[in-house]
Structure formats: C-alpha cells, structure tokens
C-alpha cells in the first residue's frame, strides 16, 4: 500500500492545465498498475485454458495416446450433440436447476422476511442461516447422503419407509441431491433478498396498510415489485450456480442412476477418461450454455448487472 502514498490527490485545487493532465496521467498509470496483478492472474487461469479448450476440442486427442492427435474440425461437437447421454445430462441439470431455484426463491424470501422482521433472536437466526453457507459442500452432501442411506440413515425409520433404497432410483436420488443443494445454498439467496428488502421504503408499506391492504396484498403489490431488480439478480446467480452443480452429485451418486450433470460429464471425459478432445468439446458447450443463460437473463429479463455489488 505504500505505493499509494505518493499519489497526488485527484485535482482538488485547480491549477494550470498542464499540471492537471500530468496528474491525471499519473493517476491512470497508478490505477492500471494496481489492477495488474489481479487481472493477470484471472486471465491466466481463465482465458488461456478456455482458448486451449476451444483449440483442443477440434482434435481427436486422448492423453493415453498423444501421438494419435488428429484434426477433426467440429466432429467432436457433432458426436456430443447427437449422443443421447448429453441430452439426458442436459435434462438432469435442467430439472435440478429449475427445482432448486424455484424452491430456494420461495424459501429464501421467507427467510429474508423473518430475518428483517424478527424482533426476538435476530442474531441467532442470522448466525444459523450462515452455517449452511459456510459449510463445505462435500460435508453437506455426506450429511444428507448418510441420512437417507439404507445402511446408516434414519430417514426410512422415521418415516416408516422400510428398506426403500433412495439411491437406487433416478428420481429419488435426484430428490436427495436437490434437497442438499437447497439446504446449502438457500442462505445465499436469502441474504441477497434481505438486501433487496432493505430497499423497500417503509412509508410505502405503511401507506398501503393504512389504506386497508392485507398483508398478502402488500407483499404482492408493494414489496415484490419494488425489489424486482434484487430478485432477478439473485435468481440469475443461483441459476448459474445450480447449472454448474458437481460436488453433491460426485459424493452422493457419482452420476449413477442417470443423475449425471453437465459438469460431471465434463469432468468424467477430461479427467477420468482423459479423452481430451471430446471432453473439451463438452466443456466448451457447458461454457456456451452458461453464456446463453446469462444472455437470456440480461437481454430477456432486463437484469441490471450494474446494480450488482457482490458475487456468490
């Protein structure tokens, strides 16, 4: 930080035009200098590997036989897109994303209301909500897996389900995966919505109350419309996050019972099978799907990202 000490203050005292432009040049240089380390490291880890993935996705290339590398154009993409497995994984990922985001939006909104309105135990509630946010996803996945597992779990005993094997069927496995994802990530969406709630002017709500509006009417006619921007930003972030789901699936089912998601497919092709060309094609398609979702939100729903100040 010592580098910032010599910096002249941004022209507070008007002086000759030459000096001002000198100052602003020094300011520009310092701004770029301070940004360089962060930008370089972010570019190194994203831009180069992404371009590399695009390039290698045009080859038939396996790590196990590097000498057989052969240019095949877009054939890897054709292979992926005509394979039923890709579309099955798209469907699985889509189901997980839609269900988690929908449930989390309702649940997160309820959490945010309680956090902002609760008079008693406010601190305790906020602390409790942060616990799932901080817990390692793998740990949360194990906790939910073992709760439903036939060998170790208590769920079947509690609900009188006998020996129903949750992880032997597609939809029951997905149910548990979705449940663990909801548990782990609702705190995030509820905190973003809490920030949005804080923007709703209390006078507006009180005025509607005086005019005889019910609680439900006030919620839908005043609160929700006022925080539309915050809701859309929260939904965008959570949608993209759920679309990339990986950890829970890896721990709970390892993609068995048709629970494989797009992230898991990419991982399995590139790392486990070392089919670099084909795997990178899957990875590039996953990347493009994320770009597409973001574009739909930003252009279609008019999410104003200049309002965003935080990330995940």
């Amino acid at each position: 930080m010592t580098a910032t000490l010599e910096r002249p203050q941004p022209a507070t005292v008007p002086s000759g035009p030459v000096e001002v432009s000198d100052r602003s040049r020094a300011e520009r240089r310092l701004g770029l200098l301070l940004s360089t380390p962060a930008v370089v490291i972010m570019l190194l880890v994203t831009a180069y590997p992404l371009l590399n993935a695009v390039y290698l996705s045009l080859f038939e290339y396996r790590l196990t036989s590097p000498d057989d590398k052969k240019f095949v154009g877009l054939r890897n993409y054709a292979t992926v897109l005509t394979d039923g497995l890709w579309w099955q994984d798209v469907l699985t990922t889509l189901v997980i994303t839609i269900l988690t985001v929908a449930v989390e939006l309702v649940l997160g909104f309820a959490f945010a209301m309680v956090m902002s309105k609760a008079i008693f135990g406010r601190r305790t509630v906020r602390t409790a909500i942060l616990l799932p946010y901080g817990i390692v996803t793998v740990v949360s996945a194990y906790a939910w897996k073992y709760a439903f597992d036939l060998q170790s779990g208590f769920v079947n005993q509690w609900f009188g389900l006998g020996d129903f094997a949750w992880f032997s069927h597609r939809w029951s496995s997905l149910f548990v995966i979705i449940l663990s994802e909801i548990w782990k990530t609702t705190p995030f969406i509820s905190l973003l919505l809490l920030a949005g709630l804080a923007q709703v002017p209390t006078e507006l709500d009180e005025a509607a109350n005086v005019d005889g509006a019910t609680w439900w009417q006030r919620l839908w006619k005043v609160t929700v419309p006022t925080m539309k921007g915050a809701i859309l930003v929260a939904v965008l972030f959570r949608t993209l996050d759920a679309w990339r789901i990986f950890d829970n699936v890896f721990i709970m089912t390892a993609g068995q019972q048709q629970t494989e998601t797009l992230s898991f497919l990419t991982y399995r092709q590139t790392i486990t099978r070392t089919a670099i060309g084909l795997g990178d094609a899957v990875g590039v398609l996953l990347f493009l799907s994320v770009v597409l979702i973001a574009a739909i939100f930003i252009k279609g729903f008019g999410v104003d990202l200049s309002r965003v100040r935080g990330g995940r």
């Binding site: 994203t46 590997p49 135990g121 992230s263 990419t266 590039v284 309002r307």
Partner: protein
C-alpha cells in the same frame, strides 16, 4: 390481535429456520460419535453408545492429517494474496480515474459465473507441463483467481463509502502522509478487508473441483477431495463414521468464524450485494 398474531408467526418462523439449518449439522455430529459397527444395525438418529473412536481413526490416518495441513496452508496463503490483490484493485476502482475500470468489474463478474469444470481439463494439462500439478501453488493460483471477483466487488463497494476527505483533513491538522494513512484510512478500511478475507477463505476451504482434478497425492490434496477418497482404517470396515468425524473437524473452523463474525459476513454479502 393482528400484530400479536404476526409476532407469533415470526417467532415460529425463526424456530423453523433454526431447526432446518441446524438439523443436518447435529446429524453429522451424532453420526461421528457412533461405533463403526452401528452402521447397518442402528437406524436411529442418536448413537447407541457414544464413542470417540472415529476421531482417533481420523487423526491416525495420514491422508487426513496431511490433507488438513494442505487445506489450512493453501487456504490461508490464497486468502492472503487474494485479499492483497483485491484491495489494490478495489482502491484503484473506488478512488482513481483510469481506462478499463468498468471492464475490470465486468470481467470479474464474468469469472464469477464461469463454469469451473470447463477449465479443469486444460489446467490439468498445463499444470502437468509446467510442474504445478499436485503442488500447493497449483491450487493457490486457481483459488485466488476464482475468489477475486467476490473480493473485488465487496471491497470496491466498501471503499466507495469511506470518507476519504478525512485523510486530507488529518494532513491539514499536521499529520504526515503516512500518519494520515495509518491512523485514519487503515482503521476505516480494515473491516471491509477483513470481510473480504472471510469470504475468500470460505471459498478456498469449500473447493472440491480443483482439489480432485489438480492433485493426486497427499502432497497437495485438500480435505474435501481427501474425504471423497477416504476408505477408512481397513477395507473391512465401513468408513461412514470416520468420514462423519472428519467432516465435523473441517466444519469446526467454519462454525467458529460464523459465530464470531456473523455481522461482518452478513454485511459483506448484503450491503455489498445489490445497490438501489
């Protein structure tokens, strides 16, 4: 009548939230105190007989203890470097006029949305060719890059709120530049930097994708990845209770941080999150 009923609704709501968030945590703690032999024979929530044997198993397992050291070391180093980098950028964005300012914020946002798995294949090859595969820096570098966006956005929102004129005011009052910076600016900026550090640490501590893809041995493998490959003390024993114990161990720092700094984290995620 109405207000009384609403108040009760909020209290019930609070209790439901507490149960929902705490329940899986109590379950994994309870599981970690069960005898390994209870798996498959005792389908109840609580152990038949409480035992600390799983914690002994876990700390006797080299894979786990080295993973714990790796996780702590890698997360702390990545947090330290990441927060320094983010502070520099955020200061520049909040206080200086320079070209590319908006571009940096948008680029950081794009990275926050990036599907990490798409990069893992190419990074795997790159790291192997430059000798970073299965090393600490091999994980520290991607952790810094992917934690930076959140840190940059949180910190630049925070820095924009700091009354920087106070620095000049102190200098007018006779303080040197260094004194003004240290006595006025540092105390004002410290809470924001600290919040960014907590969020960055959580990100690194949580990572799984890089952990399993870019490491292969106990040299650099962090805890979440080690947990996924944990087989227990012997192959004849179910590793379930030992994994539960290991899970509890890695959850302790998280719970401690949340309990101590709840307000900071909420402030970092909300006031920084969406601006009206």
């Amino acid at each position: 009548m109405e207000s009384n009923r609403t108040r009760w609704a909020w209290i019930v709501g609070s209790i439901l939230i507490l149960v929902w968030t705490a329940f899986p945590i109590f379950w994994i703690i309870s599981l970690s105190f069960k005898q390994p032999g209870e798996i498959g024979t005792n389908p109840s929530f609580l152990p038949k007989q409480w035992t600390g044997v799983n914690y002994q198993t876990v700390f006797k397992t080299d894979l786990f203890t080295s993973a714990l050291i790796n996780s702590i070391g890698i997360s702390l180093i990545a947090t330290l470097i990441g927060v320094v980098f983010a502070t520099l950028v955020a200061y520049a964005i909040a206080r200086l006029e320079f070209p590319g300012k908006r571009w940096i914020l948008n680029f950081a946002l794009a990275i926050a949305m990036f599907p990490v798995v798409s990069l893992v294949g190419p990074l795997f090859n790159l790291w192997r060719s430059v000798g970073l595969y299965d090393t600490w820096p091999g994980l520290i570098i991607p952790y810094i890059s992917f934690a930076l966006p959140l840190a940059i956005w949180t910190l630049s929102a925070f820095f924009r709120e700091i009354p920087w004129e106070m620095e000049q005011a102190a200098q007018v009052d006779g303080a040197t530049t260094w004194q003004a910076f240290r006595k006025v600016i540092v105390p004002l900026a410290a809470p924001g930097v600290f919040t960014a550090a907590i969020l960055t640490f959580f990100f690194c501590w949580n990572d799984f994708v890089f952990g399993i893809s870019l490491t292969s041995t106990s040299r650099a493998r962090p805890v979440p990845a080690a947990l996924a490959f944990f087989t227990g003390e012997s192959q004849f024993e179910q590793p379930t209770t030992a994994i539960a114990a290991a899970s509890v161990v890695v959850t302790i720092p998280v719970v401690a941080i949340v309990l101590l700094f709840q307000r900071r984290i909420v402030a970092g995620l909300t006031s920084g999150a969406v601006k009206g």
